[in-house]
Amino acid sequence: MNLYQKLLISFLFVPAILISQEQNLAVKHIPQELKEYANAVIRLNEQTITIEDIDAMVVSGKRIVTVLNKAGDSYIKAAKGYDKDTKITKLSAIVYNAFGKQIKKYSKSKFEDASAVSGGTLYSDDRIKYLKYTPTSYPYTLVFNYEIKTRTTGFINSWYPVEGFSTSTEKSRYKIENPKNLVIRTKEKNFKDFPITNKSTNNLIHYELSNQPALKYEANAISRREILPNLMIGLNQFSLKGVEANIDTWNSFGQWMRSELYEDRLELTPETITKIKSLVQHTTDPIEKAKIVYNYVQNKTRYINVTIGIGGWQPALASEVDKLGYGDCKGLTNYTKALLDAVGVTSNWTVVYANSKRDIDKNFVSMQGNHMMLNIPNNGNDVWLECTSQTLPFGFLGDFTNDRDVLVLTESGGVIKHTPAYSNEFNEQKTEGTIHLDPKGNIKADVHIKSKGLQYDDRYYIEKLDSEEIDKYYKNRYWNYINNLNIEQYKFLNNKETVLFEENLKINIDNHGTLAGNDLLVGVNVFNKITYIPQKYRNRKLPLQIAQGFKDIDEIKFNLPKGYKITTLPALKKIETDFGSYEMHLEKINATQFIYHRTYALKSGIYPKQQYKVYREFIKTVNKTDNLRVAFSKK
């Protein structure tokens, strides 16, 4: 074909597309069921990934989104990241109004260019080009075209045809072209119940989803990862910023990571080795040694992220972290491992999904995880170390990384292990105290709160706050519902050995009780009220999830003011449900003293959607009982 022919064809071709597009892009062409509950409609999301070679990949795509209202603006997603390894070769966008008429056009140079840094990051060479568009009216449609060329094939975008709640999808098309016939593994997740067709052929992976209405968000539901469809992709042979891999099991994957990315990062200076050896010389117990090393790292380092080149996957040199006193999760973990190596304690780098709970998929081998920590095998009694925290107790993970499958890079290769779960009763909070009431309803009290497990994790940081912040913490956060609170004295005890945090407080509260004629009305739950009632759903669609179980025990002794006596005390309240239990009773000691007992426990788990209503009723009853007041009359 000569140039003339090419031009002719494109001339003929382009207007035709424009015309048909303008017609189709009009909002009136969107089926009604796709507009319902939707803030945005994905008219088309087409991605074609061509794996030209182990270290050459082209991703091209067209994304057409009709934004129905302001809340849908974030779905235009006209943005692409790039770095030294990844180039953006095409980038353009066109905006159409509700009738499908073109109103604005953007070429690549009109996109904003910024550094893609997140919190905690000092510097990163990742950058992003994104479109800054101010909508002039709703609805509008944005067509986004792009092409990216990269030498990294280790990360192939998974397919997420349903992008979130309140968004519908008219068509999502996903193709992987594989001219070199490389081994590509795929895994379909949550495909059931979604209109997906698989059109794959020999050298082509091809999936489509059509006409998926918007799903509604519901609180206390299972994570969207457990509900929405996802196609995972993995290559056996791939390249990561110039480092090549050939893997097919977690074992070989782990071996590759160790040998290519990690093993040569461990060197320390002889001075540091001598120093750490001298610190542990009085013991031979590996766990004792590990505690000393962990403590040393916590005192010496802090978390700062600097990402250059392959630094997103490879740790900084241990000697560098030793010198600078800072590093990211990989750098700090690797540094801790290097120190443990020096004192003869075996440990393993461990890849994990941190923060919101997510497993490394043990049945699908690919680049996964977003964080790194350390594992000490300890003859089968694994000890886990979070190396980015300066304050966590040794071996305690908190809800950042607990209870999930992780990839441990052992000497014999990668192994999937599960981190300890801190469930239900383990997360105990015990509140004990004595209250003295005066005839005006004012309270003077001693309160002792002991927190364990994940409740420890929620709480122990207050130790580091200054006196003003501590005052504000109790007044505006923990006991936000108490007016006229005064913290007279506080003392904290952080026992890192047993992972127990103790708060010992002397407080007073003005006007807690109210006078009503001859009676003094007193709310009996002073220190541990729940104030949250779950959202009501007329038609709940998603299962209920209680993410974190716990147990709270309260025992508060009340001393009535002079001249008042107990007449009748309310009856015991006891509720047992599938989700947990609640018990409240008032134990009379004598005419002027009684003890308030409360036990409230929730069990983590996933419960069928029909149970949501029962759960909400349960929490409502707890809330109501927590607000119970008792009348005491004058003698």
């Binding site: 002039t136 010198k323 200054d466 009503a516 009632i533």
Partner: protein, 652 residues
């Protein structure tokens, strides 16, 4: 002999400490400083500047002309891990038209005490990063190595700027304490700058004239000791307004053998300069682009107020704010009008021009938004916004900002209600215009509840919002579906809603009204044989917003406000009232605010009227103890209950 040595030592010591305070010496860190575990004056401080020094001066060089040099020296003490974040420096560098600000000679050390010995570590060059943040800015960043609690870090560097007419605002207070602060600015006689200082701490600015070989310099010095940390508080619009700072603004240049060139000196000159700009006055005077649309609005026979409303609504419809604030147009009025997108100046200059073309006395007001600071003194760079004004025949002014879809005439968005703006007349004169509204932000709640003998309650609630409250309500709810609004209201009030209706949601110049019908079983509390009902139900204010012990800064509400409840209750049959709350009226001193609680009953009907009012937009911190006490009383009153007992059924 011994005596003499002591005296000698003392004098020597005094002398050296004196010379120390004259010039910051790099690397002078003592063990005593490293041993310190708490700041002597602020035990809550996570870190403190032992010293912060800045020297700003001019250099002339035949090939490059004038440069402005800033030498920075910082000595920081870290008391806790929370303080590590201060050991990070970010230097913002500007570039424009091929000219660039540059940093030179960055030098930085961390000092630690190890086994009683002083150890230091240098910041290596490869740990200094440069990030291109936008076309005009880059950011130089570094964080200090080997930090530990107790450490001292020191850094110094110079910035060389070709933009010699622009001296950055100098902050004189930070969110951690400063022990010694020294800022010295040397300006050759050819450049004449005005100084504006602000903040709640007094600033001692010394000025001297220093003779050089051929000219003289104006030298400005600020020496402060023990500057306390600036801390956040609720209801403060922009903490920076209270931060001590000094700003230099060029008023003229006066070189030998050339004509004196004037920059801003007073409001008249500043406004004239802005008006002369091609991105202001020229833009304002264009009108061909909208003439047809203006004719189509058919305003000739309409009243002044109708004209204002029509044009205002038209411009709000037509133009969309790109969320950027400026006193100058960004796209130009014609382009903005065509594409429907503009910044604050594009949009409000179009509005002003259209109003003017329709025969109204319309003029722009240049101002500063809340997050930008307060233009206390004549300043060109302290202004970042434009709104429109109309002077009516009766002499009253209407202020308009068409960037907010839900705003109405004279109801400006909170960000704009900031101090005073400068109105500019056609002939370039200028007037000060207060932007803070005296108009009350109002909420009124009409609640009617009927409780039956099974303690099942049903009723309706009619809520009306006015002015700023209405703008806020519309911003929050107008983009939500009715279903979402119901769900969030049900959750917040713990009731079941049957009917939901909003009127005037889009009639922005009218108050917005929402009517709901609801039911609930949660309103009656039983204790022994008595039944308690809070007569404010879900409208009750339960938590005082002012629980902290003391307050440093004014409480800023934006506008005065008023909240009114009018509640009618029908109590269940078969019960008699044992007691009801007593009426109450309290007030804050100096007519700052008041709370009235009036309750009456006839038979089983009860009526409650509550009015809560703050008569000013700003309450000074001196009144904080009163305000705290006032809230304590009104929260206690609002928690009082109606007490019912069962009617004694007499035997037949």
């Amino acid at each position: 002999m011994k005596k003499i040595t002591t005296i000698l030592l003392c004098t020597l010591f005094l002398f050296s400490s004196n010379s120390n305070s004259q010039e910051a010496k790099f690397g002078k860190v003592t063990k005593e400083e490293l041993k310190e575990t708490k700041h002597p004056l602020d035990s809550t401080a996570d870190a403190a500047y032992l010293q912060r020094t800045k020297k700003i001066y001019y250099q002339f060089n035949g090939s490059q002309g004038w440069s402005l040099i800033t030498d920075v020296y910082v000595k920081l003490k870290i008391y806790s891990e929370e303080g590590f974040k201060h050991a990070q420096e970010k230097i913002n560098l500007y570039q424009h038209g091929g000219k660039k600000e540059k940093t030179t000679s960055i030098k930085a050390y961390t000092y630690l005490l190890k086994n009683g010995n002083l150890e230091k570590q240098k910041l290596s060059k490869d740990q200094i990063f440069t990030e291109e943040t936008s076309d005009n800015y880059s950011l130089k960043k570094f964080t200090m190595p080997a930090l530990k609690t107790g450490a001292i870090v020191e850094w110094k560097y110079s910035i060389r700027s070709p933009f010699f007419w622009y001296i950055n605002k100098q902050n004189l207070q930070y969110d951690i304490p400063i022990n010694k602060l020294k800022t010295k600015i040397y300006i050759p006689e050819y450049f004449v700058f005005k100084q504006h200082t602000k903040g709640y701490l007094p600033i001692q600015l010394a000025h001297e004239r220093k003779n050089k070989t051929n000219f003289f310099e104006n030298v400005y010095t600020i020496n402060s000791q023990d500057v306390p940390a600036l801390k956040k508080e609720p209801f403060v619009s922009n903490l920076n307004n209270y931060r001590s700072s000094i700003d230099f603004e060029l008023s003229y240049t006066d070189f030998p053998n050339t004509v004196r060139e004037h920059y801003s000196t007073n409001w008249d000159d500043i406004c004239k300069d802005i008006y002369k700009s091609s991105k202001f006055g020229t833009e304002l005077n264009k009108h061909n682009y909208f003439n047809d649309d203006l004719l189509a609005l058919k305003l000739t026979d309409k009243s002044e107020a109708q004209k204002v409303t029509s044009i205002f609504e038209f411009v709000k419809q037509k133009l969309n704010w790109d969320k950027t604030s400026s006193k100058y147009t960004k796209y130009g009025v014609k382009k903005a009008y065509e594409t429907g997108v503009g910044n604050s100046a594009d949009i409000n200059l179009i509005l002003t021009a259209m109003l003017r073309e329709a025969g109204l006395l319309a003029r722009p007001i240049i101002s500063s938004t809340r997050d930008y600071g307060i233009p206390l003194f004549p300043t060109q760079k302290g202004l970042n916004y434009v709104i429109a004004s109309v002077k009516l025949a009766n002499g009253n002014y209407i202020l308009l900002d068409a960037t907010e879809k839900f705003s109405s005439p004279n109801s400006l968005p909170l960000r704009v209600m900031n101090w005073n703006g400068r109105l500019i007349t056609k002939d370039g004169r200028t007037l000060s215009m207060p932007l803070k509204s005296k108009i009350f932000s109002k909420e009124s709640q009409l609640l009617s509840i009927n409780i039956d003998s099974n303690f099942h309650a049903s009723g309706f609630l009619r809520s009306s919002v006015f002015n700023l409250s209405a703008l806020n309500y519309r911003n929050k709810n107008n983009n939500l579906t009715e279903e979402k609004q119901i769900a969030s209201l049900e959750k917040k009030l713990d009731i079941e809603i049957h009917n939901f209706k909003t009127t005037n949601a889009h009639a922005y110049h009218k108050p917005l009204t929402r009517l709901i019908q609801f039911e609930s079983d949660e309103f009656v509390e039983q204790i022994n044989n008595k039944y308690y009902i809070n007569p404010e139900f879900f409208l009750q204010d339960k938590i005082s917003p002012f629980k902290n012990e003391s307050r440093v800064f004014p409480i800023d509400y934006g506008t005065p406000w008023e909240e009114k409840f009018s509640i009618q209750i029908t109590l269940p049959q078969g019960y008699v009232i044992e007691s009801i709350p007593t009426p109450l009226g309290i007030a804050l001193p100096d007519n700052l605010g008041s709370f009235k609680y009036n309750i009456t009953n006839t038979g089983n009907k009860l009526s409650l009227n509550v009015t809560s009012k703050i008569n000013t937009d700003l309450i000074l911190p001196e009144y904080y103890p009163h305000l705290k006490e006032y809230y304590k009383t009104l929260i206690a009153k609002q928690s009082e209950k109606i007490v019912l007992v069962k009617k004694q059924t007499s035997a037949i």
